[in-house]
Subunit: 375 residues, 2 copies
């Protein structure tokens, strides 16, 4: 193989695919990035078998071929090259020579043929969403997935499409996050569970600032075969494809957990509430489970926390409708939800001191439900 | 004690003195910042007994007193307060109440009376240097101190003043760094060794960008008592004083180690040489001692490294006077020295492949000597 690519193009490509290289693996070849110049394009590929990334980079193929290079080492080498054209040339024993201006580097590669290929997801019936919107909706829900691997389905998020409506749901047994987004175009009907790891990596690769679309494809699996066949999802954007396995099984029907009645409605400035609850965590030591107590009366919310370290007592102005209520929460759960909300003021809905608090807007864009704790 | 200070002033002061709080200590009171409002000013003080910082903050003393508060906790609390006036009030059992706008926090303090006082350094005959110059000369020499605690004197730097000349020297057995600086005003004659820890902390606190002076004071100790009496140094700037113990003993007479003769002189572009040697470290694994080999011939320097990971071979254009030479170095030592030099081109002087290389300018501002290794 012999290819010539610009350093910047190579660096961008390597940086993209290296996110799929597993930190620990028992399959040494997966520590590599595969450079596939066996056809008309130069492709970089990395995978951990559950999650893979492929990207096409611009360049010239002078001799077709394939090579696999240790990802961490290759990435550090590429980062330190000069801003010039880079030639990568391999010999029949996978010895690899990288030349760039007056620099000549040599390293050992491996046969790229042994590299696990990425699963193929047919490119039909895409869900289309802008990179920015996808990144945002992930960030606004990802914090409430569970890290309990014994209930695998809770370590992912439900992505459900129906007409032009995308609904994303995550829950961890203490709280539920629901976000709804109107898509520009109607999407095919889907109801899948994407693992948290896949979503975190996707949100790192896609651009935060661009309106460019991501096309999401999902492999067709008949309902009755859902438990035996692996279902795949692919995200296509720029010149990159990310392929991942979906979590098997059906997600929880959260509709039944949502209650619209309430005894108390509170309207409060979001930043003041967030800053106050954030401050209260000063008094919570790692692993400690001190709740923050909210005492809600007419026009006032008193927030209190006390621990071995000391205590905090703070009053916020609110608008209140309905009953007084005194209720306690894990402050972290409230902070996560409030940080995911862009609005300047938020509405909190309470039933009583034993029932979850709902934070939601009037248009149904978001609903964050948080279970209270005893105090 | 009852004081009122602005949050920003308190935050700045706490951030400054907290750098003296020891990470680990067997003396619990040293984990605290002492607030001393027993006289006319509000002082914040922290010390690890070898190194202490005191700073004066603006504010109003409503009731005189002293309190010691856990530094890490107090700092995190102060950082999360609102940008408003902060009142700190203590009761007779050292209970401390912090109020700021609608926030009320309580924590337990300790008697500030038990706090080790900082040693007193008489304010006479200062060495005056700008904060920027002091920070710079520390950064340009600190990398070649030794971390071998068994030869304590090598863990510090020699600071020597004579008329208006400040000379700073550090060495670790493999290399020597010497920097000379002309001061604006003549300074009293001094020849002391300041510990690396003190210098690192000082360079973090002083401003990188200001021409404002630091006044350095050193306690007088008669030559014959140097081994029994602890000698102190203080750095005064802004409203802050840093006091530290000096390392006992005399520094090495490096003048005898410097040789002015050379067989080869090389003039080379600094950035090209630095980038190349930096790239070569890609092939050096942690703990591995692969040297970089320089093969110097007319107009050309070939740089080579090879290890289990692969190899590098690179050629740089140089101007050469004198003999050809092939010599090898620990690449890290060259990188450290070159990074400390601002000049665009550097002059390297070689005697032979077994003798140290000197990197120096024509005006004697700096001299970096590096011992070669076998190859």
């Amino acid at each position: 193989m012999k290819i010539v690519v610009s350093k910047s193009e190579l660096q961008k490509g390597v940086s993209t695919v290296s996110k799929a290289v597993p930190v620990r693996t028992t399959i040494p070849i997966l520590e590599c990035i595969k450079i596939d110049a066996s056809e008309k394009e130069i492709k970089l590929i990395a995978t951990d078998t559950q999650f893979g990334i492929e990207t096409v980079i611009d360049g010239t193929i002078e001799e077709r071929g394939i090579i696999a290079l240790n990802a961490r080492f290759f990435e550090s080498v590429v980062n330190k090259l000069k801003d010039s054209d880079v030639t990568i040339e391999t010999d029949e024993r996978y010895g690899t020579t990288i030349t760039c201006d007056n620099i000549k580097l040599q390293m050992n590669g491996q046969s790229g043929e042994e590299f696990t290929p990425l699963p193929i997801v047919p490119k039909k019936n895409p869900i289309e969403i802008s990179q920015m919107s996808l990144g945002k909706i992930i960030r606004q829900t990802i914090f409430s997935i569970s890290d309990n691997e014994e209930r695998k389905i809770m370590t992912g998020e439900q992505f459900k499409t129906e007409d032009d409506l995308l609904t994303v749901v995550s829950l961890d047994g203490h709280r539920i996050s629901i976000r709804k987004l109107r898509l520009a175009d109607p999407a095919p009907e889907n109801d899948v569970v994407i693992s948290g790891k896949t979503l975190k990596e996707i949100s790192k690769i896609i651009s935060d600032k661009t309106d460019e679309k991501v096309k999401i494809y999902i492999t067709d699996v008949p309902e009755e075969k859902k438990n035996e066949m692996t279902q795949y999802i692919s995200f296509d954007f720029d010149k990159t494809t990310v392929v991942a396995t979906l979590l098997p099984g059906n997600f929880f029907g959260v509709e039944h957990m949502i209650v619209d009645e309430y005894a108390t409605k509170v309207k409060v400035d979001k930043k003041s509430l967030l800053d106050c609850i954030d401050r209260s965590t000063l008094f919570v030591k790692e692993g400690d489970k001190k709740p923050i107590i909210m005492n809600i009366t007419d026009g006032n919310m008193e927030l209190m926390i006390s621990s071995m370290l000391g205590s905090m007592d703070e009053n916020l102005m609110i608008e209140k409708e309905g009953e007084d209520v005194k209720i306690a929460f894990n402050p972290k759960f409230f902070i996560d939800a409030l940080r995911a909300i862009d609005d300047d003021t938020v509405n909190l809905y309470f039933i009583n001191s034993k029932s979850p608090c709902s934070i939601k807007d009037d248009t149904g864009t978001y609903l964050y439900m948080i279970l209270p704790v005893n105090f």
